[in-house]
Amino acid sequence: MKQLSLRAKRSNLVLKARLLQALCAFAMTIASSVAFAVDVDPLRLELTIPADQPSRSTLTITNSGAKTVNVNVRPAPYRFWQTDSTRPPSAETWFTFEPSGALTLAPGASQKITCIVTPPPTLQKDAHAEYVAALLIDELPAEEEQPSEKGAQITVVPRFALPVYLQIQGRQQVLAEISRFEIHAAASGGLLRADIELQNKGTIHLRPLGTILFFHQTSDVVVRASPVGKALPIFPATGLQIPVVVPMPSPGHYKAVVTLNLGQNKILQKEAAFEVLQDGTVH
C-alpha cells in the first residue's frame, strides 16, 4: 500500500513536471512571438549650457511594442567614430536623471526623462568651449529573461547610443578655413574630383553644408551644380577632407566655386580654375 502511494506520488510528480514543462514551452512560444519596440526622441543632444549652474534637457522614451519593457539610461564616453581621433573633453560624469534608475513602460506608454547636466566647479577655470558624451539607452531584459542560475543564457540587450554635445555659453566661436580646394581627374576615367579641405579653427564643432558650382571660365554660365554632401562634426583643431565627384565636363576652361555654410551666419567660399584637355586630363 505504501509502495502504491509512493508510486502514485511519483507519477503525480512526473505529471506535474510534464505540465510545468509544457507551460514553460508555451511561455517560451509566447515570449518568442512578441516584438519589442522602444523609441527615443531626440536622437542627438546639442546643448548650450552655462558654466556655473545646472541645465536641464528632456528625452522621451516610448514603448511602441506590445509588451511591458524596462529601460535604463546612463552616461558613457563619446563613442562615435570619426576619421580624426581628436575630440573634446568628456562630460560623462556631469549627468543625473529624473526619474533615476530603470523605467518600466507599459505598451504604448511614453516617459519623459529629465537629463540634468551639472558642470563641475573647475569648469569656470577651464578654457574648453565644448564637451562631449554619449547616453546609452538599454532595453533591459524582462524578469523571465534575467540570467538564470541553471543552464546557460545569452541575454540580449538592445542599446542605442545617443551623442551629446555640450557647448559652454560665451565660449562659442565659429571659425574655419578652406585650406585646400583642388580639382583633378578622378582615378577612374570620365569623372572629375574636387577635394575640399576644411580646418576648424573655432572652439566648437562644425557641421558644414555646401555646394560646388562649375562655370565656364569666360561666360560665367553654370555648367554643373553639386551638393558638397553632409559632413559629420568637425571638432576644434581638426580638419576634414571632403571629396566631391562629378561627371567630367567637355574640354575647355572652367572655374569651380565651393560655398560652405558653417552655421551662425558664417559662410566660406573658395574658387579654383582648371582646364579639361582633349585627352581627358585636367590641369
Binding site: 509502495q3 509512493l6 517560451m28 512560444t29 515570449a31 518568442s32 512571438s33 512578441v34 516584438a35 519589442f36 519596440a37 522602444v38 523609441d39 527615443v40 536622437l43 542627438r44 511602441s64 511594442g65 519593457v69 563613442r79 562615435f80 567614430w81 570619426q82 576619421t83 539607452i137 538599454d138 532595453e139 531584459p141 524582462a142 523571465e144 529573461e145 540570467p147 538564470s148 542560475e149 541553471k150 543552464g151 546557460a152 543564457q153 545569452i154 541575454t155 540580449v156 540587450v157 538592445p158 542599446r159 542605442f160 547610443a161 545617443l162 551623442p163 578622378a186 582615378a187 577612374s188 569623372l191 554632401g229 553632409k230 559629420l232 562634426p233 565627384v245
Partner: protein
Amino acid sequence: MAIRTRSPRPLRGLAMILLFLFLFSYRPVFASVKQEVYVTGTVGSFGGYTFTPAVKFAITEPGGKELEPIMVNGLYNGEYPWIMRIYTDNLRFGGIAGAIQRPTPDGLVSEDGRFSIPIEVNCPNFGVGVWRRVPDINEPNYTPYHPVADPKEGAPYSDVVLLGIDPRNAAWVAGPDGVLSTEDDNPLGDSTIPTPFELLLRVNAPPTAVQGSYNTYLYIEIVPAP
C-alpha cells in the same frame, strides 16, 4: 544475453536518491553528460529594427553548435552614417575571485567566472558560412568601427558590424568588385539588407569547459550618425 540483477526495492529507492543527489552536485565535463542550455533574449527596435529571438539549445559535446536563428525585421531610418554592432560586456566577471584572467573574456561566462564559451555570429552580410567571433567590448585589442579610406585596406577594426550605412567607407562603397568608381559602386556605402533576415548565433564549447551556469549580456547597439 545480459543478466541484470535487481536490487531489493528499499535499496533501489535509496540508490535513486543517491543518484539524484549525485546528478545535482557534480558538474562533469561537457563530453560526458547532455546539458540543456537555454538562450533567450529580445532585442527592441530603436526607431526601426525589431528582433524576435527566444532560442534554446542543448550542448551535448565540445565543439560548435548552431542555434536557432533570430529573425530581424524592420528598418532604422535615422541619419546616416550609422552602424549596428554586436558585442558582449563581461566586465562584471572581472571582480569574481579566480575569475577569467584571460585578456579576452568574450562569450558566455560560467557562474564562477572561470570558464567561457565563445559565441559566433553570422549575418547574411558576412556571406554564407562566414562566422565571426562576438568580441567583448572590454578586451584589450577591441577597436571600434571606423571608415576605411581604401577598399584594399580590409577592416582595420574588431567591431562586428551587422548592418550600416557609411558613404565614407571605401570598402562598402566599392561594391562587389572591390574597386572604386566602377559600375557596381554603392555610393551610399549602404551595407543594410532587406528584412526579414536571419541572424545566426552559435557557441563553441571548448573541451576544457565544464557544465554549469553560463551567462552573458549580448549587446546589439545602434551607433547613429554623430
